[in-house]
């Protein structure tokens, strides 16, 4: 019997697709079954740009911050070439701060031994792999580090990030998993511009169990019908969610769901 994923041409899952499915099934189905690709927005582009700049600075310890920022700005401009996102200029102004602050913290880790490596794990009873791409691996510390750009430093890991980290951790044996959150300006209260949080191993195990559960449910749901429109007719989008905040995504949602 064809499994639900195969039935719809889904060859793999990822932390973001599982998180999307658990947060807004309607959006997940629109993207996976109708092959709708959400356009890059300015926040996504600044994340990618900051990573590019910091990555350059980590691999080249002698590189100046200005050089790293230049790399980041070039990346941002490339990503945003065709984007109509009105937040473009605002986000662009913040990119140098993200790079400088993230670099100040992560250069203390030394030079990464691996980066942008594809990982793939199997979950019990889930017929497709879960894949991802790590930001940096530091073998000298037995650690994987993922960068997050944010305007407000968190005090704890969100469920979505913990699940992403659990996948990376599972793919790296007993490596530790850390998330470096960087913001463009130091906080007025605590003067902090970067915080690094480490995923607890027990929580990682719990998140793997949750991911497995969610993926199995997803497969069962997708198995209900070969017809995407039939599955889309069973779910209700939450247009208040930030997932739908982009104009093109909202417009497509209106077209697909009729309101």
């Amino acid at each position: 019997m064809t499994n639900g994923f195969e039935q719809h041409g889904i060859t793999h899952l990822s932390a973001s697709s599982i998180n999307a499915a658990s947060n807004d099934m309607a959006l997940f189905l629109m993207e996976k079954l109708l092959k709708f690709r959400s356009p890059t927005n300015a926040a996504m582009a600044r994340g990618k740009a900051a990573e590019e700049g910091i990555h350059h600075g980590l691999l080249n310890p002698q590189a100046s911050v200005e050089e790293c920022v230049a790399k980041a700005m070039a990346c941002f401009d490339t990503e945003m070439r065709f984007s109509p996102d009105e937040k473009r200029e605002r986000e662009r102004e913040l990119v140098p701060g993200y790079v400088e602050n993230g670099l100040a913290e992560l250069r203390l880790y030394g030079v990464p031994t691996g980066y942008q490596e594809k990982i793939s794990i199997e979950l019990d009873g889930v017929p497709v792999p879960v894949i991802g791409f790590i930001d940096w691996r530091f073998d000298q510390h037995g650690m994987v580090v993922d960068l997050k750009t944010t305007e407000r430093l968190p005090s704890s890991l969100s469920t979505a990030h913990a699940r992403q980290g659990a996948i990376y951790m599972r793919a790296h044996g007993n490596y530790a998993m850390r998330f470096a959150y960087t913001k463009p300006r130091a906080g007025k209260g605590d003067g902090r511009s970067c915080i690094v949080l480490e995923l607890d191993r027990e929580q990682a195990a719990a998140e793997i169990a949750a991911l497995t559960n969610i993926a199995q449910r997803l497969e069962r749901f997708l198995r209900l019908s070969k017809d995407p429109s039939e599955l889309l007719a069973m779910v209700i989008p939450n247009f208040d969610s930030f997932y739908w905040s982009s104009g093109p995504v909202r417009a497509k949602g209106r077209e697909v769901f009729g309101f």
């Binding site: 030394g110 510390h141 407000r152 005090s155 704890s156 209260g189 915080i195 480490e198 995923l199 929580q203």
Partner: protein, 210 residues
Amino acid sequence: MGLMIGGSGASAKAYLKYNAKSGRWSVRNIDGSENEIGDPTFAADLENIATGWMLFEKGMPPQRVMDASTDQPAPKPTGGDFKRGFILSVYSKNLFGGIAELSGTSNVLANVVKSLYAQFEEGKDANAGKVPVIECKGATAEKGKFGTNYAPNLTIAKWIDRPDDLADESPAHPNDIYKPAALTGAPTPAASGHVPPPSPRPASSSATEF
């Protein structure tokens, strides 16, 4: 030892709430309804009171990083305006239908609870295994720089055997309790905040050096 809360110091359940601005008590019931009540009398599990850091922000679930015990304060979390606060299990069949949670970060209430805890510590040896019954008799106006607040007049009226429904355990969720890495041997939990960079080590132990 006193509690490290207050101005000078560092589901499925009902909630007992106190509004220090109006000096009024209310109960949020399990079904979500809310009703105002008069000065309450209730058993309070002061033995298991949990203290720690709390963050209440509009539109977000409350965040808590609770002390491992009342004399082992958790480090202040970063990333928000966390305040010292407490969680106390209270019990009244009549008022809450059983257990309710009284919690908060308000200095007015925290200072009252701190004083109540001092009374509890004085009397607990003579009342081993029992829990105090707290009685509220009105409130005292306190003028401060943010206007007048009303501190409830709470005292221990008597001690009773622990009610069967009032479990002898911390009211804090285990996930909210700060666990120092040194005690658990585990990596620093996320809620404890920033982890410093690792100390430098050779990239590979098998690398040959010349």
